[in-house]
């Protein structure tokens, strides 16, 4: 997978926003949106997040209907005050995380950096055993972006800018 050629301020949002709002659509056409902590792999252009097997709806939806989106609209904690909002629409692939992968490891590190208290939770042997279904039994969802929609200064009252991501080539800003 090739890296995405994105404007710096857009790449910064994908890197630094603590959470994004992930939407998948179920078989009846009902969209469902939940916040998620996602890892942006700049080398491949893919965005990775995971869900516990106890709450697998996002993964099940994406398995049946791979179109997914991630809206980056809340900069809390990121230190980016005047950054844009970015909507990423793309194709999702879903796989249980049965052993450590580079994406899963990177996401775990990111979670511990952004949520320092989670590290204490993870370090406790009791927490690990009781909440293994949440901490370790997870399903990974990888989104390959197709299109990005950008609202400068997170001003949704303005018409956004579109960035189409051509397969195997650099992104084109319209």
């Amino acid at each position: 997978m090739p890296a995405l050629q994105l404007p710096d301020e857009v790449a910064a949002v994908l890197r630094a926003y603590y959470t994004c709002e992930v939407t998948t659509v179920n078989g009846k056409g009902q969209p469902m949106t939940w916040p998620a902590l996602a890892y942006y792999d700049e080398a491949t252009g893919e965005i990775f997040f995971s869900v516990s097997i106890a709450f697998p709806v996002k993964a099940q939806n994406a398995r049946k209907r791979p179109q997914a989106s991630l809206l980056y609209s809340d900069p809390t904690g990121s230190g980016l005050d005047h950054a844009p909002a970015v909507l990423v629409q793309g194709d999702a692939t879903v796989a249980e995380i049965l052993k450590s992968t580079p994406h899963a490891t990177a996401l775990n590190k990111l979670a511990q950096q952004r949520q320092p208290d989670s590290r204490r939770f993870l370090a406790s042997n009791l927490s690990r055993r009781l909440f293994s279904w949440y901490l370790f039994k997870r399903i990974g969802i990888t989104v390959r972006p197709r299109r990005l929609t950008v609202w400068p200064n997170r001003d949704f009252s303005q018409e956004p800018t579109m960035i189409e991501v051509a397969e195997s080539e650099a992104a084109n800003v319209e």
């Binding site: 603590y18 959470t19 709002e21 939407t23 998948t24 659509v25 009846k28 056409g29 009902q30 969209p31 469902m32 949106t33 939940w34 916040p35 902590l37 516990s52 097997i53 106890a54 709450f55 697998p56 209907r65 179109q67 997914a68 989106s69 809206l71 609209s73 809340d74 809390t76 904690g77 909002a85 909507l87 629409q89 049965l98 052993k99 450590s100 490891t105 775990n108 590190k109 952004r114 949520q115 320092p116 208290d117 989670s118 590290r119 939770f121 993870l122 690990r128 009781l130 909440f131 293994s132 279904w133 949440y134 370790f136 039994k137 929609t149 997170r154 949704f156 009252s157 303005q158 018409e159």
Partner: protein, 154 residues
């Protein structure tokens, strides 16, 4: 189904995230100000963004927040249908959904609330077992030595 308690909590959010599936089938979202009309049991939008002007049909509205340490997590979703009412677009709500499995709060469980953690543990363990039953085989053993190694590495 309308939920009075969650509707009241939803009014405390300055903005929410409205999502639909677009004409190509991709989900699309915008962040916007949403007003809950408790009497009419609908959500109205004082200023629908240009990007969302044509949106109608099945939709959802997410409210969530966290602090700068990713703590104090609150989240809920209102499912429903975007319809035109009196010349404006409104979300006719069909359901309130929380991620904590509770119907009276959108607060996510935290270690500082042992009762909430216990409830979350019981819910999660039951649902994880359901997933494993459907999966047909148990999840492979967790490699705790690897977890320890990763913790030491950081």
């Amino acid at each position: 189904m309308w939920n009075k308690q969650l509707a009241r909590l939803a009014t405390q959010y300055p903005t929410g995230v409205l999502s639909v599936a677009d004409v190509e089938g991709f989900p699309a979202s915008v962040r916007l100000v949403a007003r809950l009309d408790i009497k009419r049991r609908v959500v109205t939008f004082p200023a629908l963004p240009p990007y969302a002007q044509g949106w109608r049909g099945k939709a959802c509205l997410l409210f969530h927040r966290h602090n700068s340490r990713l703590e104090g997590l609150h989240q809920m979703v209102l499912k429903g249908e975007l319809v035109e009412e009196g010349g404006a677009v409104a979300l006719r709500v069909t359901d309130f959904v929380t991620a904590n499995g509770r119907t009276n709060t959108d607060e996510m469980p935290h270690a500082s609330h042992p009762i909430h953690m216990l409830q979350f543990f019981l819910l999660g363990r039951r649902k994880a077992r359901e997933y494993e039953r459907k999966r047909g085989q148990p999840w492979p053993p967790i490699d705790y030595a690897e977890v320890e190694r990763l913790l030491r590495e950081d």
